[in-house]
């Protein structure tokens, strides 16, 4: 087997895992703390990508665009929270699902009105667009390393935020006991708004990071959000650690499965059969993993301790 290719695919898997974590972290926070199912979380991923695309053309710099688009996406999240989401905290899951499904339709249509129905490519600065030699002769795309690095740094930052800051303390307390937090006179509404905007910003960032590779397109969030749900279900709803481990796991399994399943299948079946079966199975791989995890541990790998 080609070790260079394997290494590159491993990095690709890691990159997908990191993006999934950015999405799943926001979902997990809003679910853990506000008991909110937000289908429209993927819309912030899309909005982030489009904002980043426009700002890259305006400012001429991808990095400036990134720095501006993150707070802007947070703002979009905040407005969404104020206008619609806030009304949903006290509603049942069914109503949350329907209303946020409506939000998706609105976001998709609005983005189409503003940016048109074609996708927008995001150019990278030259220093990010090349390859860099990593170990010996193995060269990997610089930008993918940046994505992985940024993702891991944010994961570490979130860990610090949740475990070592006042906001984090409130988040943890809020997740385990809503009334307790309210009783201590903490402004629950403000906390919820802040957490929702944070989640939106993280999802937006994931969209901004992927945009130079895939381009920004309508409905781009609607596929990956389901994968993020799988991450949450496998990791355990409401658990940050679970979301992190399972995001990386699923990123790797999905990527490596798509690249190597046909090679493995060819070991014990005809080439023709392998070329039919492998794509079908690799497309289903992470869902089968989810089914197996659920069959063995319905609460996921790392169930949140308090709920």
């Amino acid at each position: 087997m080609d070790t260079t290719l394997l290494f590159v695919q491993f990095l690709n898997g890691l990159q997908l895992g990191v993006l999934l974590f950015l999405l799943a972290a926001g979902l997990s926070l809003t679910f853990g703390i506000m008991d909110l199912v937000n289908l429209a979380h993927g819309s912030f991923y899309m909005v982030g990508a489009f904002l980043c695309a426009t700002l890259t053309y305006w400012t001429g710099s991808y990095i400036w665009a990134l720095l501006l688009a993150v707070p802007l996406t947070a703002l979009v999240g905040l407005l969404t929270e104020l206008l619609v989401i806030r009304e949903l905290y006290t509603r049942d899951h069914l109503e949350q699902v329907l209303a946020t499904f409506g939000l998706i339709l609105c976001f998709d249509a609005l983005v189409q009105m503003i940016w048109g129905s074609e996708g927008i490519a995001v150019p990278l600065p030259a220093w990010l667009d090349g390859r860099v030699a990593l170990i010996g002769s193995i060269e990997v795309p610089t930008f993918r390393l940046l994505i992985i690095g940024a993702g891991l740094a944010i994961a570490a930052g979130l860990y610090g935020l949740v475990n070592h800051t006042r906001l984090g303390m409130l988040i943890r307390a809020g997740a385990s006991n809503r009334t307790m937090v309210a009783a201590h006179g903490i402004n629950i509404r403000l906390l919820f708004s802040a957490v929702f905007a944070l989640g939106a910003a993280l999802a937006g960032l994931a969209g901004m990071l992927i945009a130079p590779i895939t381009e920004a397109s309508i409905g781009m969030g609607n596929q990956i959000i389901i994968t993020a749900f799988v991450v949450i279900v496998v990791g355990g709803v409401g658990s940050m650690k679970g979301a992190f481990v399972s995001a990386l796991l699923i990123g790797l399994i999905d990527t490596l499965g798509r690249s190597y399943l046909d090679t493995i299948f060819k070991l014990f079946m005809s080439t023709k059969a392998a070329e039919t079966a492998a794509p079908a199975l690799s497309a289903m791989l992470i869902y089968i993993l989810m089914a197996v995890v659920l069959a063995l541990r319905p609460q996921g790998l790392f169930p949140a301790k308090v709920r």
Binding site: F31, V37, L39, V84, E87, L88, R91, H93, L94, E95, V97, L98, A99, F101, G102, L103, I104, L105, C106, F107, D108, A109, L110, Q112, M113, N222, Q223, I226, F229, V230, I232, V233, V237, T276, P279, A280, S282, A283, M284, Y287, I288, M290, A291, L294, A295, P298
Partner: protein
């Protein structure tokens, strides 16, 4: 003691001579759809026959979702997967009957198609339901979504059947003397299946089985404490709903003569849910009303603007925020019955 009880119940169902507002609306709606399709055909308006047929197919799917969502309280967000399985159960055998290979399933026989559609959908419901019904609430929503997405990607990966682009059904199901190439016969078949489905669901929800299902929706712990294994009842309901929706898919595939992964995209599941909730979950004819509103709105709005998803989405949000209990409840309040 018994007489007034049963009279009260059948009146609430809305199908006795003493119809309430909801009952009149229901009968009127069915007559309108059935009559409308036929009249449109003879008035030379094939567009409206097509519209009515699509509406009826979606109404069957929504009715099957209502069985588990409305009466069983199961927030399934992957119901369109059964439409897709049902449609491919028509498309794939028909494809092989035309182009060879896979002789075991190659067939134009409509009864075989329908049996395959219901059988495979039921089987898929059994396997995925057995796993997903172990969980509740938000888990269940996400898992049903994920399993549906799994089949979406499965059909995308099947290059032999067009993958992403879908598969054109060159030859429709052959159902005895019926010719599904004739729009009127296609419509009447679908309408007949809708009536049969409504009858079946009505019987189901008022049977011993149906009362257990509704009891488990109301208070699962209580039902287990008096001795019901509610998991099994839910699973059986899930399989029945899946098979019925597979039937709707087989009809839809025949109607459009085309099947693609898009039919089971999760946004399609969202639309089915919208129909059930908007019309009134847990009422027999609510989903029909919901499907009608959906199809009509889609037609009107998409004629007005290419951004029709915007008012549609806004309507969905507003209906959740301000119209609880669905339109059936609203009409019921207007007409004064519960």
């Amino acid at each position: 003691m018994l007489r007034p009880a049963s009279a009260h119940k059948t009146a609430a169902l809305g199908l006795t001579p003493r119809l309430g507002a909801r009952g009149w609306l229901s009968v009127g709606l069915l007559a309108l759809i059935g009559g409308g399709g036929v009249v449109a055909h003879f008035a030379g308006a094939p567009f409206y026959v097509d519209l009515a047929t699509r509406l009826v197919c979606l109404a069957i799917a929504a009715t099957s979702l209502n069985l588990i969502l409305g009466y069983g309280g199961l927030l399934s967000f992957g119901h369109a997967v059964f439409i897709g399985i049902g449609a491919y159960a028509v498309g794939i055998p028909s494809y092989h009957a035309t182009y060879g290979d896979w002789q075991a399933i190659a067939s134009y026989n409509g009864f075989f198609h329908l049996a395959l559609a219901m059988g495979l959908s039921g089987l898929f419901a059994l396997v995925t339901g057995a796993i997903s019904l172990r969980t509740r609430g938000v888990h269940f929503i996400m898992i049903t979504m994920a399993f549906a997405q799994m089949m979406f990607f499965f059909f995308v990966s099947l290059e032999a059947y067009g993958g992403d682009d879908g598969l054109t059904i060159d030859v429709r199901s052959e159902l005895g003397p019926l010719s599904l190439d004739d729009p009127l016969q296609m419509f009447l078949l679908a309408f007949g299946v809708l009536l049969a489905t409504l009858w079946l669901v009505d019987r189901l929800v008022h049977s011993r089985f149906g009362l257990v299902l509704q009891g488990a929706k109301d208070n699962d712990e209580r039902m287990r404490m008096i001795g019901f294994n509610t998991y099994v009842f839910r699973l059986v309901a899930y399989v029945i709903a899946g098979a019925l929706c597979g039937l709707a898919g087989a009809l839809l595939g025949n109607f459009t003569a085309f099947v693609s992964p898009d039919m089971l995209d999760w946004t399609r599941s969202g639309e089915l849910m919208f129909m059930v909730i908007l019309g009134g979950a847990g009422t027999l004819l609510g989903p029909i009303l919901g499907a009608t509103i959906f199809v009509v709105l889609e037609e009107l709005l998409s004629g007005l603007t290419i951004y029709w998803h915007l008012p549609f989405g806004a309507l969905l949000i507003l209906s959740v925020l301000f119209a609880r209990g669905g339109l059936m409840a609203f009409v019921g309040r207007l007409g004064g019955n519960d």
